[in-house]
């Protein structure tokens, strides 16, 4: 079982759509590919879409922060999109936060943060 998380491109933004259940190895694989795609395409932003993810535990949120940190070092920005209320509750109970990582409720808001969408 090693399904790769698909990474799409929309203009200057890469969008990784995480499926329901992702193993730690698949998360690490996503990290490596998203980072190299940012470098190769010169994308200015990345969105990691997690709304279908089944669980966001201590490893998962750590990975998301790490990915965002690595992408920042390449001069691009990351937005975590679609955190569900029950995921947020697990995160708060586990003692986790997205800290300095940008979040958005949905794809439109995520794209707007990265400077694509239409403003009000």
């Amino acid at each position: 079982m090693n399904r790769r998380v698909p990474i799409l491109r929309q203009g200057q933004t890469l969008i990784a759509s995480v499926k329901d259940a992702v193993s730690d190895q698949e998360m690490r694989d996503l990290q490596a590919r998203l980072l190299s795609d940012v470098v190769n395409t010169g994308a200015s932003g990345a969105i990691i879409y997690v709304s279908a993810l089944d669980v966001l535990d201590s490893f998962g949120s750590r990975m998301l922060s790490d990915i965002a940190g690595a992408i920042r070092l390449r001069g691009a920005r990351t937005v975590i999109v679609g955190i569900q209320p029950e995921m947020a509750l697990s995160m708060v109970l586990l003692g986790l936060s997205m800290g300095l990582v940008e979040t958005a409720l949905d794809l439109d808001a995520g794209l707007e943060i990265l400077g694509h969408g239409v403003r009000l």
Partner: protein, 130 residues
């Protein structure tokens, strides 16, 4: 009772999905299903990291009028000498956040952790149906 062998990365996912499905069938809320799945994810990952292999067992429990789901995560790994220390937020012998054990306790209703150092670790939790 459903049991799931934990040997590798992918088994963590299988175990948490199995538990979530069972919890859903038993009528646990979406939120409780997520909390149960997250707790199992933390415990199963610890088995892979620290003990190489182990089991996750899921059973239904009744106590008085209450009905719940009991999860036992057990392994024959090195165990933990100082449980209090391991249950402290931020304590990790791996390179990780050290929130798995103390955090899991906060996700569930009842939590028990027992270890014979050198012989393994058993973590048991119960989530009651409200």
């Amino acid at each position: 009772m459903t049991s799931c062998r934990i040997l590798a990365d992918g088994d963590v996912v299988v175990a948490r999905q199995m538990a979530r499905k069972r919890a859903g069938e038993l009528g646990f809320s979406r939120v409780d299903q997520a909390l149960i799945a997250t707790a199992i994810s933390e415990l199963a990952r610890n088995i892979v990291h620290y003990a190489k292999s182990g089991h996750i067992e899921i059973t239904e429990v009744n106590r008085g009028r209450r009905f719940g789901l009991q999860v036992v995560a057990s392994d024959q790994g090195p165990g933990i000498a100082d449980i209090d220390l391991a249950m402290t937020d931020g304590y990790s012998t791996g390179n990780s956040l050290g929130l798995g054990l103390p955090g899991t306790r906060r996700l569930v209703d009842e939590f028990d952790i027992e270890s014979i150092p050198g012989r393994g670790l058993t973590v048991t939790f119960i989530k009651w149906k409200p």
